[in-house]
Amino acid sequence: MIMVVLILARIVAGHRHEALVAKRRHFLSLLLGDGSEEELAQLSQESPRLLGELSLELIQLVRGEERDQFIATATRLGIDAELRRRLIKGATRTRITAAEVLGDFPDDHSAAALEAALDDRSPDVRLAAALALAHSNRAPPVGLLVERLRLGTSERSLLITSLLADIARERQAEVRALIDDPAVPPPVKAAAIEALGATGDYSLVPVVNALALAADPSGEELPRYLRVLGNFQHPAGTPAVTKYLASPTWYVRAAAAEAAGKICLYELSYKLLAMLDDGDWWVRFRAGEALVRLGEPGRRLLGETARCGTERARDAARLTLAEQGVPA
């Protein structure tokens, strides 16, 4: 019986489809600037849903002045109010989309609605609202976000890094304060460090170095700290990198070797060379890569190992050089 109803509904929908496509095309041209205010207002009363959907699609597709124009039109048509309604009353997926799009509306009502959504029952909606606020530079204080979204405890998504990076664009000090706060969970600290890593602020290097030295030796955060130190390419990261080249955990050793290469720590050449005989492939691979990054001295050491190292080290050295097009 339900199937019969569904099939009938589909037949009706099928008949209406072509009319809908034509209507969509017409609305699109009006929204793209071919229609008068009166026409748009009339259509928004006739088919508010279709006009709403189309506006949202366009807002998400374009950038710059055109987007501002669509947002202005959508606001006049009351679409922001509809989105705010959906953000409260919709299903989870509807609320997420509403939050994402509302971030583009600059008015205070939308910002207030998004802030209220930070306490939504769904963690996905909470994070979407936070991302939308951060993207439009309207995020509440970072400390408050960490608490309300339970960042680093129940919410451990990689999107935390995107969130903090968006906030750090305008409020770097606030994100940096997370690193120094002992109450902030380690995953948030790691995300904050990654977010700030892109800023090129070398004053962070000693801070990250100290955090790495104090981190749980087998924790998930430690490789992230080491990678950031590598990306800074600053010698102030040497103590942590040196310490963790001898870590009992393979992925920490691999991350330290990678960082040593990126920072060009020549003094660690022989340690890296010894790592070509490591029991774990990733460590051998990263050590070889790091030696190549050291330039001529590193390549010379690789060449020597390729000739007279242990079998495992020989293979690592020979193939690393071969990948670089350098004969062993």
């Binding site: 199937m3 099939i7 699609e57 997926r93 451990r156 999107l159 992925y251 492939w281 193939l319």
Partner: protein, 482 residues
């Protein structure tokens, strides 16, 4: 009806057998109803099915690199189109690793010639076992493509070589003759971004391309096939993916991620020794090994199925080939079940031991036997006067009505939540198929599964000869299991 005086023990035995048949049937029915509930809940609460551009905006920055592993054996005719389609995937950071598994035709030559590849050296892992690699080929013009040429060892062996050569934290195993939707990777990676520390593996939906229009390695227009066997398989795939896997994933007891499309954490796949050799159900076995490994480590983890990422494959349209495929799937399930039987109802393995393995036991191990025994026993008991006609009719009515109910309920879920079949006529045809398949095809399918059990007990190895039409031309290759 014969008028025979049956001794007490014969009657008692018949009653016990009948009770086992009815009990198992009820258990299956109960489990299907639970699955339907969970599938409906999961679909209703899934994240929005948004446009690729939105997904890109949301996840691209944090999406980890992926190595797409495509094993190829004698794929000369379609390999170039398949690789072109893979290279056109929309994902921020990926590489395509084609593993030529000792093809006897011109697969390698076609790849090298068309893409202008040259022999290269690349330092790679040797953690998992596979047949020797004869050479690696790449071109600076196509930095995303790497071809591994190795000696023949089968699909699992080829995938193991791919895992060793891959350098990304995630790998995606696919069939070289399947077609991935261009945004399949960015959709599938979502759980790895959202729960990076727990996520172990993610499976996506496989759909049948029989009847659909395909151009340049993409399904351009979804159509139903005209072949009855292909139509029935569309219903089977709907039930398998939209109901069973979605529900099992929701319960966190998923035991199969299809070999045609699955995303795995490379490090963990290496820790469990990669794909096992000497089994035809290597995809199921890898997932079970991952469950076991994570439970043994006492670590929180998740293995998910998500309905959106779509991989298109071709279903057999010939009874012999289909029968061979189904008996092989059955054999694969039994091999995995037997190998890991200590997990069944073992408290150490929690819900995967009780619900996941319990489901495999009821549906895959006991299901076909009980159903066939039921079909044979009921008329037999009736013939010797131990069963009333009303019971016979009631048994058949329940069996068929429930079979139809499950299929139609899956179709309803499809129509409400996904609406992937474009025309109303598709729904009419599929509804008819949901009814018709119960009379003949269902029984035949059980016989194929019984044959698979027989092969398992005879310890038969190998895939048997499989023939595929190919999306564009005739082609031999093993099909995807569901």
């Amino acid at each position: 009806m014969m008028d025979i005086e049956w001794s007490g023990w014969a009657v008692a035995s018949a009653e016990i057998i009948a009770l086992v048949v009815i009990g198992t049937g009820l258990l299956q029915i109960g489990f299907y109803i639970v699955q339907l509930g969970f599938a409906g809940l999961s679909l209703a609460q899934r994240p929005p099915v948004v446009r690729s551009s939105q997904l890109w905006q949301r996840y691209a920055e944090q999406a980890p690199p992926i190595a797409v592993l495509a094993p190829a054996f004698n794929e000369e005719v379609t390999i170039v189109e398949s690789v072109n389609s893979l290279l056109a995937l929309h994902y921020p950071d990926f590489e395509v690793i084609v593993i030529n598994d000792g093809s006897k035709d011109g697969t390698l030559a076609r790849l090298l010639g068309h893409f202008g590849l040259e022999r290269v050296d690349r330092y790679h892992d040797l953690t998992v076992q596979h047949q020797p690699i004869r050479g690696l080929y790449a071109s600076p013009r196509l930095p995303r493509l790497l071809v591994v040429d190795k000696e023949n060892g089968g699909k699992s062996d080829a995938l193991n070589a791919g895992i060793n050569v891959a350098r990304s934290p995630l790998f995606c195993s696919i069939d070289a003759d399947s077609l991935l939707e261009s945004d399949a990777l960015i959709r599938a990676v979502r759980p790895f971004v959202e729960e990076p520390e727990k996520m172990v593996a993610v499976g996506g939906t496989i759909r049948l391309a029989n009847g659909s229009h395909i151009a340049a390695g993409r399904v351009t227009s979804v159509r139903l096939p005209t072949n009855f066997l292909a139509l029935v398989q569309i219903m089977e795939y709907l039930r398998a993916f939209l109901m069973a896997r979605l529900a099992l994933s929701r319960m966190q007891v998923l035991t199969v991620i299809s070999g045609a499309f699955g995303l795995f954490r490379r490090r963990l796949a290496l820790e469990v020794g990669g794909y096992s050799h000497g089994t035809v159900g290597e995809d199921m076995e890898l997932v079970v090994k991952l469950h076991r490994h994570m439970r043994d480590l006492k670590q929180e983890y998740r293995i998910e199925f998500i309905p959106e990422p779509v991989c298109w494959t071709e279903a057999p349209e010939d009874l012999t080939i289909l029968g061979r495929q189904r008996s092989r799937w059955q054999r694969g399930a039994l091999e995995t079940f037997a190998k890991h039987r200590d997990m069944l109802f073992n408290p150490r393995y929690g819900r995967i031991g009780f619900i996941g393995f319990g489901q495999v036991m009821i549906v895959d191990v006991m299901g076909p036997v009980v159903e066939v025994v039921g079909y044979a026993l009921v008329p037999l008991l009736w013939a010797v006067g131990l069963l009333a006609v009303e019971y016979l009719l009631a048994f058949l009515a329940i069996t068929f009505t429930f079979g139809i109910f499950v299929s139609v309920a899956t179709l309803i879920l499809e129509e409400f939540e996904l609406r992937r079949f474009p025309r109303a006529s598709d729904l009419i045809i599929l509804t008819a198929v949901a009814i018709v398949e119960n009379f003949g095809y269902r029984q035949l399918s059980n016989l194929w599964r019984i044959w698979g059990m027989f092969q398992f007990f005879r310890k038969k190895q190998g895939w048997g000869t499989m023939t595929r039409k190919g999306f564009t031309s005739a082609e031999p290759s093993p099909p995807a299991r569901t």
